[in-house]
């Protein structure tokens, strides 16, 4: 009896570690961000100046919040049709066949490629291509970053959606077919309406992934600390500014970067929470 209690206590203690890590994380980020919020107040969140010149320091998070949201939105817009096509391919048109399994494995593999390799490929292959098209003189910018992000988040949107659409009851689909509906009509009037919230949740989670991606974005966005003013202008995201400027940071600048990390933590937490909430409601 005694050894049983010891084992159970050990398991309980292990579970407390999760609580400690999560609360410690929030505490440390807030603690590290205090000097910034003391200096600038809450206006840090809506000031758009980022000036690290000593004696004249002024930090605001707006350029990076804007950069993060805009690149992730671009990624989402590009990701939606591609991911739609691939989950219909896997879960509906070629369900269960060898070719669907292969495609599914390849899509999963997209999630396995490290961010930095996406960055290299984007820099050496995608960027020259964008320059060639005449879209932007250097090829850097929020569009290039959004494009590479789109490829990176496709597997997250696809894997959830394909599970959900295979759960749509066959009877519903068969009923529509027996009325003479084409496969296209079955997909848009039966499968997608039935799987709608799951698909939306998948895209929300994919969006959450895009918000926090660092390396590939850092290598492609052009690293300008301003609010981007066009599809091909350069910018910076919250993650990329931390990666870029952390090395030489101390004092107020370090604290501001930690504050940006805190904001990123909160924003991704909210987006992921929303996605998970929708999925929980489904099951």
């Amino acid at each position: 009896m005694k050894s049983e209690n010891i084992t159970k206590t050990l398991l309980l203690i292990a579970s407390v570690i999760v609580v400690l890590i999560s609360t410690g994380m929030v505490f440390s980020l807030i603690n590290g961000a205090i000097p910034t919020f003391k200096e600038f107040g809450l206006s840090f969140i809506w000031s758009n100046e980022w000036n690290p010149t000593e004696g004249n320091e002024n930090y605001g998070a707006v350029p990076f919040i804007a950069g993060t949201i805009i690149t992730s939105m671009i990624a989402l817009v590009i990701c939606i049709p591609l991911s739609f096509a691939s989950f219909l391919f896997i879960g509906e048109y070629f369900k269960g066949t060898f070719i669907a399994n292969t495609l599914s494995a390849l899509v999963d593999l997209l999630a396995g490629i490290p961010s930095i390799i996406y960055g290299l490929w984007g820099f050496y292959v995608l960027r020259p291509f964008i320059v060639e098209l005449g879209l932007s003189p250097q090829g850097f910018g929020i569009f290039t970053a959004g494009l590479i992000l789109a490829i990176m988040i496709i597997p997250y949107a696809t894997s959830i959606s394909k599970e959900i659409i295979t759960m749509v009851p066959n009877e519903l689909k068969e009923a529509a077919y027996s009325l003479g509906a084409t496969q296209f009509e079955v997909i848009f009037r039966v499968v997608i309406p039935n799987a709608k919230s799951g698909i939306v949740a998948g895209f929300i989670l994919a969006f959450g992934r895009a918000l926090g991606e660092t390396m590939a974005v850092t290598m492609l966005i052009g690293n300008a600390n301003v609010v981007p003013d066009g599809l091909f202008s350069t910018g910076n995201t919250m993650a990329s500014v931390i990666a870029n400027q952390f090395g030489e940071a101390d004092g107020l600048k370090l604290s501001s970067l930690i504050a940006i990390g805190l904001l990123l933590f909160v924003i991704t937490g909210l987006i992921n929470g929303l996605g998970k909430f929708i999925i929980k409601k489904l099951s």
Binding site: V18, S28, A85, S86, I151, T158, G180, T214
Partner: protein, 297 residues
């Protein structure tokens, strides 16, 4: 749900069928477009990287900028290798595994044993939140927790801590999921024999879900092995092989980042990336194989 059906109007039927075919073709084209990057990326890595991979690649440290410049201007392959990155990655991933695997498995067992409780649900939700935290934020955390107070400078330990926090949720989840698949009768049989609880865990629960646990661990390793952002904030890099966990250490992804930023060394990125990619591919294939085998049984 109203489906417009008009049997008298042949042209409408033809139109609907045309729409159907066009959509199908478009869908196939977009699907191929979706997976084409992976083929293109691997092609790019092989074509540009295979020349770099030789014996020296695994046994030597990277050259300095000057040596690399001389080799490039002479049109030769850049000498040297990535030994410091290989050993650094090995050290940090091993240490992260040592931290994350036992704790993760214990938490997974806890959740499996106490499924419906409110406390378990809190733990489960916190684990999910942890899984969604961007890796760069984990880098900041390890910097605040280890670099500043414990090692007093960039260190392999700090890097391992950030990687361990990343691995933990994946291991918790795969443990709980694979334990759920164990038939209850197996556990009951052990209890009926009067086996003490810790022996049930060690001799029944863990062995019978070993395949799932192992797959989860492999996937967690393949996730963190290519992580660059948290290591930039925690271990910095080191031109030499380093086994001291309190000192800055290199890692394969960090080397790629360094080579990328040095115009003379830029050719070395492809060999390093190719090797890293092959490594991740193999881990993924092994874990897929194990998962497939489990399904057949």
């Amino acid at each position: 749900m109203s489906i417009a059906l008009d049997f008298d109007n042949g042209s409408l039927v033809a139109k609907r069928k045309l729409k159907n075919s066009i959509f199908k073709v478009g869908m196939i084209i977009l699907s191929i477009l979706t997976v084409s990057p992976i083929v293109l990326i691997i092609y790019e890595l092989i074509v540009k990287g295979f020349r770099q991979i030789n014996i020296d690649f695994f046994t030597q440290n990277p050259p300095d900028t000057f040596e690399a410049m001389m080799a490039v201007s002479a049109g030769e392959v850049i000498p040297g290798g990535i030994l410091n990155g290989l050993t650094g990655t090995l050290l940090m991933v091993l240490m992260a595994s040592v931290i994350a695997i036992p704790v993760g498995i214990m938490i997974g067992i806890f959740l499996y044993e106490n499924p419906g409780k409110i406390y378990s649900n809190i733990i489960r939700n916190l684990t999910e939140i942890l899984q969604g935290v961007p890796s760069i934020v984990l880098g900041l955390i390890a910097y605040l927790w280890v670099v500043k107070p414990i090692t007093g400078g960039y260190s392999a330990l700090a890097g391992s801590v950030s990687l361990a926090i990343m691995m933990l949720p994946l291991i918790v989840r795969s443990t709980e999921e694979s334990m759920k698949m164990i038939p209850d009768t197996l556990k009951e049989a052990a209890y009926a024999l009067g086996v003490p609880y810790h022996r049930v865990v060690l001799k029944v629960l863990i062995p019978s879900s070993f395949g799932g646990l192992f797959t989860g661990i492999l996937l967690a390793v393949s996730r963190v092995i290519g992580e660059t952002a948290p290591l930039m904030l925690t271990t910095l890099g080191n031109p030499m092989v380093n086994w001291d966990i309190t000192k800055p250490t290199s890692a394969m992804p960090l080397l790629i980042w360094e080579f990328y930023n040095d115009p003379n060394m830029v050719d070395l990125i492809w060999g390093t990336s190719l090797f890293l990619m092959i490594f991740i591919l193999i881990i993924n294939l092994i874990s897929k194989q194990i998962a497939a085998k489990k399904k057949i049984n």
